[in-house]
Symmetry: C2
Subunit: 351 residues, 2 copies
């Protein structure tokens, strides 16, 4: 098999982690008879500062035929986030209809949780986050800007199509895992959107009689990811709530530097996009010490999504082995002093 993968290193540590990782991905793939061709796109804030555009007008046409997309990070200290993100990351998620965002949180062997008493293996859940609508719908406005009677409105728009898609994806995952799904809402305060969400969960649940469903409010759910993360299996949440839960999930399982994610177009009409959750991390950019593991695991999710489970498994195992090995190099986020390249080399050794 042979695949074309578009890479968008992007901003901050994005290029560092993506560029260092590509040879490793080539190697992992070719060992399993899989060929990959990477095409790099230099979109991002540097480009914006020169041209006023995060990506060219025909950007999505350029990559629409790729088999998948690997993205580094978007965001720059000198440019407001709503410009950079609305100029690059969010349009890809939306225009390629990547409705399902999948983000696992795992406390790996060899990694310390900031939570007292948690050992490796204790935390292992996955968040299914709605990824193209809801609170990120970009609907709203500001009236009487600057005046005392100014009003800003931000509308969350949830469609049945979008909500059923994410909820069904979560149920399917729960059926393959422990059979337990937690739906996160805020029905007590957001009576329109969230009672609708609850209704969809109830409807879709009928197709999955063996999955046990729990419903939690976002405030209690955020707290419970700190209080009892071991009890979660699959969580399903709206765009905003999923955003919040996955950052909490990343920190309780030890490091933002380990959290991968997939933005998945479920009917394969468009390419899916895989990216580390960590973002551009301006504080460590250029030092060569960014943890590449979140990118490697995101690539593992990419291969799984392409059906190349052997390549995916090989990458997951190699990362797990490096983490579990006290003598293996570790980047500063994990308490070590190794470089990005050292860690990539250690992963490659264990392929």
């Amino acid at each position: 098999m042979s695949y074309e993968i578009a890479t968008i290193p992007g901003d901050g540590i994005g290029p560092e982690v993506v560029d260092e990782t590509l040879p490793l991905l080539h190697e992992a793939a070719s060992r399993h008879g899989v060929e990959i061709e990477f095409t790099e796109y230099d979109w991002g804030t540097e480009r914006y500062l020169e041209t006023g555009q995060m990506m060219p007008d025909d950007a999505l046409d350029q990559i629409v035929d790729a088999d998948s997309i690997l993205l580094g990070a978007v965001g720059h200290p000198d440019v407001p986030d709503h410009i950079t993100l609305h100029g690059l990351l969010l349009p890809i998620r939306k225009e390629f209809n990547q409705q399902v965002c999948k983000r696992p949180s795992i406390l790996f062997d060899g990694v310390e949780s900031p939570l007292r008493g948690y050992e490796s293996g204790d935390i292992d859940f996955v968040v299914y986050r709605e990824n193209t609508e809801g609170e990120y719908s970009d609907a709203g406005g500001r009236v009487h800007q600057g005046f005392d009677h100014e009003v800003a409105v931000q509308s969350a728009v949830h469609t049945r199509e979008g909500t059923e898609t994410i909820v069904r994806a979560a149920f399917e995952a729960a059926r393959e895992r422990e059979g337990h799904m937690t739906s996160i809402t805020k029905s007590n305060a957001q009576a329109f959107s969230m009672t609708f969400w609850d209704d969809v969960v109830e409807d879709v649940a009928e197709e999955f009689p063996n999955v046990e469903v729990e419903s939690l409010l976002i405030d209690a759910g955020s707290m419970d990811l700190v209080r009892r993360p071991e009890e979660f299996d699959v969580l399903v949440a709206s765009n905003l709530f999923g955003d919040i839960l996955t950052d909490i999930g990343a920190i309780v399982s030890g490091s933002m530097g380990l959290a991968p994610s997939g933005n998945i177009n479920v009917d394969d009409e468009y390419p899916s996009m895989f990216e580390p959750v960590h973002g551009s991390a301006p504080d460590i950019v250029g030092q060569g010490v960014a943890n590449p593991m979140a990118t490697v695991l995101s690539a593992a999710m990419l291969f799984e999504n392409l059906g190349e489970d052997d390549v995916s498994d090989a990458l997951w195992s190699a990362v797990r082995e490096v983490l579990a090995d006290d003598d293996a190099p570790a980047t500063p986020d994990l308490g070590g002093s190794a470089s990005t390249g050292d860690v990539v080399a250690a992963i490659e050794d264990r392929l």
Copy 2:
């Protein structure tokens, strides 16, 4: 001085913690020459199940002349939250224009944080939460209900008046405290409401040149309350974001059973309302083991708001002393096996 205080014990453990606490509050007040008269209102879900109403039609008229309100909890396993909360708690916050919700998170001496390496005193921040609008505005609807093309819309409405009020209250608090304020937004994804919020923070900041302002996204902020809670002083956030942050704040500082809150009408046109953050806790109701400390501390905030700082300080100190004393009774949420009444008695002993 003499004050009339309306009490609404409400649902679940609400009546247990409020009823046990009132004699203690009487005692604390009278020692400082302050008289209080409590009038109890039996509003809540029991009433709803009998009459179809959480509170009578003229409920707010009945309590509008009170000097303050002490509320236990609202919520019941048999009735959907959006009915109970929209029937009792949220209308009081909104109709009495309690725009400022103030919620301290403190890791007290004698209390263990679930976070590794945190000692008492390490965590001490306060969240100022907008309390009457934003994501809780109750604006929206459902179109084509039940059909495939159903759409649900939930609109967050933020006014300059409301936003300036909460932001100014937070700045004032920061000026009295460590001079550090963190504004929590999600400007990168919610370009209307949150860039407006950022603008208001920038405007109000001019009145407070000595307060240092940091801006964080809600996902990063939620994570950072777990990763570096010691670095926060005052946080300011919208209604929903404040809701999420204060539950995380409660858990990292040891127990939901210790978290007090105030819903404050800043121009004293209407009574303010004080309530523990914990809610009705159906899992432990009727066992007499609910921690009364969040209610006692909420009452301490009530007295502070009335200008009765001596009574307030006495209650804070007594609670701190009980927590710091290994031999003092503790409820199960703190690892003990004492009853609500035992803990109230221990606090009273230390007045």
